[in-house]
Amino acid sequence: MNASSSALPSRWERFRDSYLFYSFKRDMVAQVSLVVFIALVAVAVLAPWLSPMNPYDLAQIDILASELPPFWVEGSDAQYLLGTDAQGRDMLSTILYGARVSLIIGFGAVALQALIGVCFGLLAGYLGGRIDAFLMRLADIQLSFSTLMVAIIVGALVKAIFGGETFSAYAVPLLVLIIGLAEWPQYARTVRASVLAEKNKEYVDAARVMGLRSKRIMFRHVLPNTLSPIFVISTVQIANAIISEAALSFLGLGMPETHPSLGSLIKSGFDYIQSGSWWITLIPGALLVVLVLSINLLGDWLRDVMNPRLYKG
């Protein structure tokens, strides 16, 4: 054995040689989706520095400049590249801030889903028996309510009890909570299925023979081996959560118009689409489609790569 092959590859070298990177290099769709997704996340994260004005600051809003079209349409103002909405807010800034809100809710809700779903799925799959039966029936019950219905009920209750002011102030954590709680069974079921497959493997028996506690076996031995399906559904779930948030906002149960997400922007523009101000709805709509599409295409690619029938990682 020569010196170079006995030296251990670094983390980066290992990644560069991996099947994941190899298939990424050969997949145009995945590359384009990743670039689009990263670009969108970057502009959303950097919105306070990139956007021409702050749409939350009422002092910067000029009501006289409302409903101005984007720059390529006649009658536009060069100051507002993508035009303005009905309240005179710069569309570009509002969209950047809106994408930020949508992404925060999407990632937050998925983190909550994953936390609950992974824990419940691990417990149900590894311990089995009554705990399994109880948790999975709970998941069935949760799945039989649609996300929208849960959101409408919770949203209406919060609004009725604490008033619209409070709801607006806590809209982001509330939406994260609603979407997170509504969709955890997706994770729980997927994790449980792969835990059931893993827990009969001999390395789990070896860990038990060693005398390790169940908690350590679950989180240290079984969980790392169920990560591939978790990654795959995470991409789909982020897209779903963003869509759910947009749908709720469109129905008026999501982000308030003073603090708009992409969904509430679409909604606020919807009233003016008949009067010719199509850009207020269509531009954020197009952005939403591009964002969700890029996430879904990435998820598609990831599912193909991590399919254990094609490749066991």
């Binding site: 493997k201 001999e202 390395y203 028996d205 860990a207 023979v209 060693m210 005398g211």
Partner: protein, 355 residues
């Protein structure tokens, strides 16, 4: 001894053991049933207009008695599905017996909680059949080997643990520099050695090996077998060795237990068993070994199949295929009886002198 003192007081020592002083592990009247019927709701059936509870079991182990003496290698042989591995897994506490008891160094261990079992985990370890599945694919070899040490020696510092891992890797012939690699970067034989290193890391006195070489390439089998034998000599290990390879038994075993359909039909020292098999099943099994000088093979051909363990045959489990079976064999279950040379055989024909 690390065993809790109150356990000794609570359970009287078994009455039927003859030589308890030198036996490390005692198995008495072990039974294991696996339910086939699912949960309570699935067990309910309509029969003749009435709702009855219907339960079905696989009778995997039916009354196994075994003694493993200190320092010996007890081989358990039998065809697949006869319950060899189930016995091994019950000894290690991976599954709980339906009936019977298992004693380790005189203390009952089959009814202990996982926390009470912890001191025994250090003294008894297991090697698994499939080295491709028995190493966690997401852990490096170093992590795999450190884990049991950290658990069982919480007072050891980092340096001492690393030193121990290095020693144990050397002792199984794996370069300690390979510790940062993952299991899939090794060949089957190397992986099995790493699995052996993991078992040896806590310095056990008793090792259960569940077909440790049957998943390996033939050229590697001898290597791993020799490694196990070296470890036995150096560390004075006791083995419970599950296998179906009779050549391995002849080479490795001090004593042999032959199992058929969840029962032990014959226990003898290796030389006695190969020279003079008593039980008709053992005779058929040994006659099936291919020999180089075999120009006139005299295999004993057994008719039929192994009966299903769901509906056990009455009497001797082997009577349906036994050429020497009579009416008594169909009704009465034979028990292990000690012969004049120390062999224990469960067979009516041997007892009656018909064989």
């Amino acid at each position: 001894m690390t065993a809790p003192a109150e356990a000794k007081a609570a359970h009287p020592t078994p009455t039927q053991n003859e030589k308890s002083d030198d036996s490390l592990l005692q198995i008495r009247g072990l039974n294991k049933r696996f339910s086939l019927s699912g949960d309570f709701l699935e067990q309910l059936r309509f029969k003749g207009g009435k709702l009855v509870r219907h339960q079905e079991y696989v009778h995997a182990i039916n009354g196994v008695d075994l003694d493993i003496k200190r320092g010996e290698a007890l081989c358990v042989v039998g065809e697949s599905g006869c319950g060899k591995s189930t016995v091994a897994r019950m000894v290690m506490g991976l599954i709980t017996p339906s009936e019977g008891e298992i004693r380790y160094a005189g203390e009952r261990i089959d009814n202990l909680s996982s926390r009470q079992l912890l001191p025994y985990r250090k003294r008894m370890q297991m090697i698994f059949q499939n080295p491709y599945a028995s190493l966690n694919p997401r852990m490096t070899i170093q992590q795999t080997l450190e884990e049991p040490l950290r658990l069982h020696h919480p007072d050891w510092d980092r340096e001492k643990i690393e030193q121990k891992v290095e020693d144990v890797m050397r002792s199984v012939g794996i370069d300690p520099d390979w510790g940062k690699r993952f299991g899939h970067e090794f060949s089957g034989g190397q992986r099995q050695r790493i699995a052996i290193a993991r078992a040896l890391a806590v310095d056990p006195e008793f090792i259960v090996a569940d077909e440790p070489i049957s998943a390996l390439d033939v050229s590697i089998q001898a290597q791993v077998l020799n490694l196990l034998m070296e470890a036995q000599q150096e560390r004075n290990l006791t083995y419970l060795f599950i296998t179906h390879d009779l050549a391995v038994v002849e080479h490795f075993g001090t004593r042999v237990a032959v199992m058929y359909l969840g029962t032990v039909c014959e226990i003898a020292t290796t030389s006695t068993l190969f020279a003079k098999p008593r039980h008709p099943y053992t005779q058929a099994l040994l006659s099936a070994i291919p020999r180089l000088e075999d120009d006139r093979p005299q295999h004993i051909r057994l008719s039929g199949e192994v009966p299903t363990p769901v509906n056990l045959p009455t009497g001797c489990v082997f009577h349906g295929r036994c050429p020497h079976a009579n009416a008594r064999c169909k009704q009465e279950i034979p028990v292990l009886q000690t012969q004049d040379d120390g062999t224990r055989v469960a067979c009516h024909a041997v007892e009656e002198g018909r064989l």
